[in-house]
């Protein structure tokens, strides 16, 4: 009978359960996505040579576990508040506490297990979908990535079921120790925002100090190594929370004193925010962290993506060199509309390549030189035979030679001396197009036709911008992929966190808005109040997140050649767009629930 009652309660509140389930499913799906990368050692080894990445993933796992912990405790209190009345009712009609205890335990665990299992399936699908999308869209080379990875699924299941067991125990104690009547009327416990100057200042100081330690640690990762990441993680989480707690409370109380608080529903909105202040500060700090992680990961991923062609471009002045180009190859090269194309003749004898100096004097070879080690800005210079023979930069010509002679120094002979050599003459055609990445497919065909003629030619060893691009892309693809993949995962987690928190409060707001309508609030005023309230909850963590990212990017100056801050507005803009879409969705759902 009681089970029947419980199930009927479930039917009546399907809408709330929908919010609860979708939130939990998203959360476990994302945890799985993260673990699918983090626990897959073969994938990590295969796709990056940087040992630190493995540790970064381990720290990431810890952070995500903490976030999951908070998330589940929210979800659980939502579940509890949803069921309190029902359980109170069961007690009133004489159900035994033991029986109710079993029911609570069972329900919590069931919700948890179902959500986690569905989440793992969704996570597998998401992993497959997103990785395909990224690989295809960005032309990445990724190996050993498995969408379905058992250890990741196990890790997810164990963590979630463990947490739900705890949550069930907590619910059991919380509900069976509370008298029935209190359960029936336990809807609202207002929070009077208190401004205690001393505590406020202490929080601000602790917050600022720990955040500066965190920023300092990220900037000096070179010397601190792994400890730096751990330190930054702990201090920034703590600092964010303290600052939110101190400043948010203060802001709401102070803003009420201004005249604008007495216009329209502004005062109501501020009261709404300060009423839920303590609930919100925790969630907002988490959202700020997730925001920073997502934005940071996407920025870094895009940074690597942007850097690959730039590095290729500054690696050589020419796209490719072709030895003894055929007619077919020539027409392909012509179709690329090269901005420059030169052919040098050469003869090879044992381990030496001989060129005609006169050809180089007529068409000086263009070299490229990086201005500094930490920049991709390069200067070009055309060198004649004698200059080239002396220059360190002649290796750029060597890269374009046949693979067998890539490490042999070129020798420039006078026409007479060159003619005396009995070896057969070869042609080296070098050319450059406006943008090597725009013609990747044609270049690939060119490499194929060359290696068909000469099996020693393969992509990896053939010099020039194209093969450098292929090589660098192979090196950076792993990092790029991880950055973007995790960025999307964190963004989705952030979305479900914030949405869950906001929507779980929507039911309580329903009667408030009904009341406002009764005292003469226009529908327009109500809608704008909802928009404002939710906007504040979106903007605050957004600002903090952006600041975290701006400091956090310093970490990556170690991994990137150019500054990680170049072109930063692109990922920021993309992220802002996604965030905005997500805000609009939340507002719409909220309106639908509240303004029925």
């Amino acid at each position: 009978m009681l089970t029947k009652l419980a199930v009927s309660g479930l039917k009546h509140r399907w809408r709330d359960y929908l919010v609860l389930f979708s939130g939990l499913i998203m959360s476990s799906a994302i945890f799985y996505m993260f673990e699918a990368l983090a626990t897959n050692q073969a994938f990590l080894k295969q796709n990056t040579s940087i040992s630190m990445v493995g540790f970064i993933f381990q720290f990431g796992s810890v952070l995500l576990t903490i976030i999951t912990l908070v998330y589940i405790s929210y979800a659980n209190s939502f579940l509890l508040s949803m069921r309190k009345r029902d359980y109170g009712l069961f007690m009133l009609v004489g159900a035994r506490k033991r029986k109710i205890g079993q029911l609570i335990w069972l329900e919590t665990l069931l919700v948890g297990i179902i959500a986690t299992l569905v989440g793992i399936i969704v996570g597998t699908a998401l992993t497959a979908g997103i990785s395909q999308l990224l690989i295809n869209a960005l032309g990445l080379s990724i190996h050993k990535l498995a969408a379905w990875y058992l250890p990741a699924a196990l890790a997810t299941l164990i963590l979630y079921v463990g947490l739900f067991l705890l949550a069930g125990l907590f619910n059991l104690i919380a509900l069976t120790k509370t008298p029935a009547l209190k359960l029936l009327h336990s809807n609202d416990q207002p929070n009077r925002p208190q401004l205690k100057a001393g505590r406020q200042w202490a929080q601000i100081i602790i917050g600022l100090v720990s955040i500066s330690i965190g920023y300092w640690a990220m900037a000096n990762l070179g010397t601190l190594q792994l400890a730096g990441i751990g330190l930054a993680l702990v201090t920034i989480v703590l600092g964010t929370y303290c600052l939110f707690n101190a400043i948010f409370v203060w802001l709401m109380v102070v803003l009420k004193r201004f005249a604008f608080a007495h216009r329209g529903l502004n005062g109501f909105t501020l009261s709404q925010l300060s009423f839920r202040i303590r609930n919100y500060t925790k969630m907002l700090s988490i959202v700020a962290m997730l925001f920073a992680l997502a934005l940071g990961a996407i920025t870094v991923g895009m940074g690597f993506h942007r850097e690959t062609p730039l590095m290729a471009k500054s690696s050589n002045a020419y796209d490719m060199g072709i030895v003894n180009m055929t007619k077919a190859e020539q027409s392909k090269v012509a179709s690329l509309k090269p901005t420059e194309q030169t052919t040098y003749h050469f003869k090879t004898k044992q381990k030496t390549v001989f060129y005609r100096a006169s050809e180089f004097n007529q068409h000086p070879y263009q070299t490229i030189k990086l201005e500094s080690r930490n920049s991709l800005d390069a200067t070009t210079q055309r060198l004649k035979a004698t200059q080239l023979a002396k220059s360190q930069l002649r290796y750029q010509l060597m890269q374009l030679q046949t693979p067998a002679f890539q490490y042999t120094t070129p020798v420039f002979l006078s026409d007479a001396a060159y003619a005396k050599l009995a070896e057969p003459q070869n042609r080296l055609t070098i050319f450059v197009t406006d943008d090597v990445t725009a013609h990747l497919a044609t270049f690939k065909q060119l490499v194929k036709s060359q290696s068909d003629r000469n099996p020693s030619i393969k992509t990896g060893v053939l010099g020039g911008r194209y093969s450098n691009y292929v090589m660098i892309n192979g090196m950076y693809s792993g990092l790029e992929f991880m950055g973007l993949f995790l960025g999307i995962a964190f963004l989705a987690m952030l979305a479900s966190c914030l949405m869950f928190k906001i929507l779980s409060g929507a039911n309580a707001d329903q009667h408030r808005y009904q009341m406002l309508a009764k005292i003469g609030t226009t529908a327009h005023q109500q809608r704008s109040a909802i928009r404002k309230e939710i906007a504040v909850l979106f903007i605050l963590p957004g600002i903090v997140g952006v600041i975290h990212v701006l400091f956090g990017l310093k970490m990556f100056s170690m991994l990137m050649v150019s500054s990680p801050y170049t072109g930063i507005w692109i990922p920021f803009l993309i992220f802002a767009g996604l965030y905005l879409i997500y805000y609009l969705i939340t507002v719409n759902i909220y309106k639908r629930i509240v303004l029925q």
Partner: protein, 252 residues
Amino acid sequence: MTTTPIMTVTDLHKTYGKPGTKQYEALKGIDFNVQAGEFVGIMGASGSGKTTLLNMLATLDKPTSGEVTIHQQPITHLKGNQLADFRAKEIGFIFQDFNLLETMTAFENIALPLTLQNTPTKQIKPAVEKVAGQLGIAEFLSNYPNELSGGQKQRVAAARALINEPAMLFGDEPTGALDSKSARELMDLFTTINQRQAVSILLVTHDPFSASFCQRILFIKDGQIGQELKRGTASRADFYQQILDNLGTFEQ
């Protein structure tokens, strides 16, 4: 009386359920007027249609047919912003469960109708303090609703209803959640407001004690006005007895 009525109700019907399905007629043609400055009570048993009637009069629900005018303005066809403005300017509500916003202090709750109309900030504070003084809640203004007693909450609700100086004040069982002492105090307060400020009050109640503070009582039964009782010059205690007698016969 020679004054024009502040509210007229003409042939008001309300039917629930769509045509073709099983219908239920909650109001079966209600007619009455309320004169300016009058204190009218509507009594009836549960399910008699009194709350339905109040919802129509207070623009919270729309009648199936018939018309209500307040200040000569027909109100049954108001929509959207007009409706909101009308609610904000012309009428005040007091509900059984107070309907205060627990997220705001008493001051902010009372000031809400003014801020909704974008009243200049300078005028808000004196207005709130004035009405709070009249209702004896000046010292609780910075408290949140959950820090107040039932009687105090209902006074805050009354202050919020009165701050816009409405033409009509509607009460839906305002004493329903109060103890007898608070109920008496609140009803005394209504009487004072009604007499001093000439606010017209319409009260829905099933409590004879609260009703005895009114000048005129309409008894409603099965969706129709069955009887009307006028206090005239009788004392409140006598009127109370009259109401009890009347209820005894009316409900039979």
